[in-house]
């Protein structure tokens, strides 16, 4: 098989459109309409509670870090602040981008904009890239959010635990957006009517960073950047750790989320930071179900899904060797068995879509 071309403008994307793999009908577990309506119901309460806790903790940790600046005691405060800034912002960005976290639209939008800024994503662009990620999850050449391409670039993955690759991509992109508008690739998934907004948002982000850097220079201290900007680096590890598990080592170019997404059981702190996105198969199958209802959804459909990984460590212990095997063989992926109660994978359909058999493990 030819090497994968992940460019949205390349031949793999065009082939996916031609074969019907793009924008295909995905597999869904049957859930009675009444039950699904109940699961989809929107509430403000859980997200308000979590947002007050999140921003309250961030303010407290930042104040602690500032008060103890200059002593080693400030380190735990900055580490805690960093993980909320550089990782919890990823899940808030995600949930509020879907518009499911809160019932009240302006609350979703406000947290979405703040989180987009902290996680260094242009809020006007990423809304669209994420829509594409849901339409064409891990379809090569179509999905702009493939975190681990094949063969995996391990050095980049490791660097990104400190946000380095993301930030290196973000800086030229936000400057391009601010001064020239969307890039050519972004124009493939952002509608033209939104291009001015892409530029407007970028200008706001650039202005805030410019002001923060100016303040740091004036103060002769890195402290302002400890509050704004740098935590995206030293606090990124948690969202990268959980994010890699979403699809890492699993199938690509399939239309069944049970083959390309992973559900992992997490400890309560990680679940708060990650806002229940560890139920990732469930989220992709039913993106309208808010984060707070995902554990309930999981209980209802788990008979139809591969067994979840019991912990982050266990999931990594399976994923990492699979990624290493992909170095030598791009076609390799982890294929999880379904329980006897599940509807089987539609191999016939996947073969038709791919033009050849799925390598089974």
């Amino acid at each position: 098989m030819a090497k994968r071309d992940y460019s949205l403008l390349g031949p793999d994307g065009a082939l996916a459109v031609e074969t019907g793999l793009a924008a295909a009908e995905w597999y869904h577990t049957d859930v009675p309409r009444k039950v699904m309506k109940d699961l989809m119901a929107r509430r403000d309460g859980p997200a308000l509670r979590d947002t007050v806790i999140l921003y309250g903790c961030m303010i407290a940790f930042a104040l602690g870090g500032i008060a103890l600046w200059g002593s080693l005691w400030c380190i735990p405060f900055w580490l805690a602040y960093g993980v909320l800034y550089g990782s919890a912002s990823d899940s808030r960005w995600h949930e509020c981008g879907h518009g499911t976290a809160f019932k009240t639209p302006w609350m979703n939008n406000a947290v979405y904009e703040i989180s987009s800024f902290m996680i260094m994503r242009n809020s006007a662009t990423w809304r669209w890239s994420h829509a594409r990620h849901h339409t064409d999850t891990y379809i090569v050449g179509r999905d702009p959010e493939i975190a681990i391409m094949r063969p995996p670039a391990f050095a980049k993955l490791v660097l990104n635990f400190f946000g380095i690759v993301d930030v290196m991509n973000f800086v030229p992109r936000i400057l391009h957006n601010a001064f020239l508008g969307p890039t050519a690739e972004e124009k493939t998934f952002v509608p033209q009517s939104e291009w001015p907004k892409v530029q407007r948002v970028a200008l706001i982000h650039v202005a805030i960073y410019a002001a923060t850097i100016a303040l740091a220079v004036l103060m002769g201290s890195v402290l302002p950047l400890m509050v704004i900007g740098l935590p995206r680096l030293f606090g990124a590890w948690h969202h990268v750790m959980t994010g890699l598990l979403q699809h890492g080592g699993l199938a690509d170019n399939v239309v069944d989320h049970r083959l390309n997404s992973r559900t992992v059981y997490l400890n309560p702190v990680s679940r708060f930071i990650y806002w229940n996105m560890n139920y990732h198969v469930e989220h992709h199958m039913f993106p309208m179900v808010p984060y707070h209802a995902l554990p309930r959804l999981h209980d209802i459909i788990k008979h139809d899904l591969p067994a979840p990984d019991r912990s982050i460590a266990r999931a990594f212990s399976q994923m990492w060797p699979a990624l290493r095997r992909q170095l030598a063989n791009e076609e390799y992926f982890l294929r999880r068995d379904l329980p006897a109660t599940a509807k089987p994978y539609r191999e016939d359909f996947h073969k038709a879509a791919l033009g050849e058999a799925i390598p089974a493990e």
Binding site: A23, H98, A131
Partner: protein
């Protein structure tokens, strides 16, 4: 030539919910609003080829099940990204316990 066709019985749709209705190769969505009125729109989202019948009705909004785009189903107006193009709407009327829609 537009014609009125029977889509469903009024009690086929819970209040604040919708169902899918297919007719002559076209697909429609029929809504039962919280105020008791019935509405009809095209059955598929204008963003991508996705049936709205699995979506969520909230007041007078229908949220698409794929990317959470929203429309006001009374007017078809696109209300939330990623939908940008309005949804086509169709007139409805009630006759006895049945909902009729006017199709082209």
């Amino acid at each position: 030539m537009p014609q009125w066709i029977r889509a469903c019985a009024t009690d086929d749709i819970d209040e604040e919910d919708l169902i899918r209705f297919d007719h002559a190769g076209a697909t429609y969505a029929i809504y039962h609003a919280p105020d008791g009125k019935f509405y009809a729109t095209a059955g598929k989202c204008t963003h991508e080829d996705v049936h709205l019948c699995d979506g969520l009705v909230m007041g007078h909004l229908i949220e698409c099940p794929k990317h959470n785009g929203q429309f006001d189903y009374r007017t078809g107006e696109a209300k939330r990204a990623p939908v940008c193009v309005n949804l086509r709407t169709f007139a409805t009327r009630l006759d006895g316990g049945d909902v009729y829609i006017e199709v082209p």
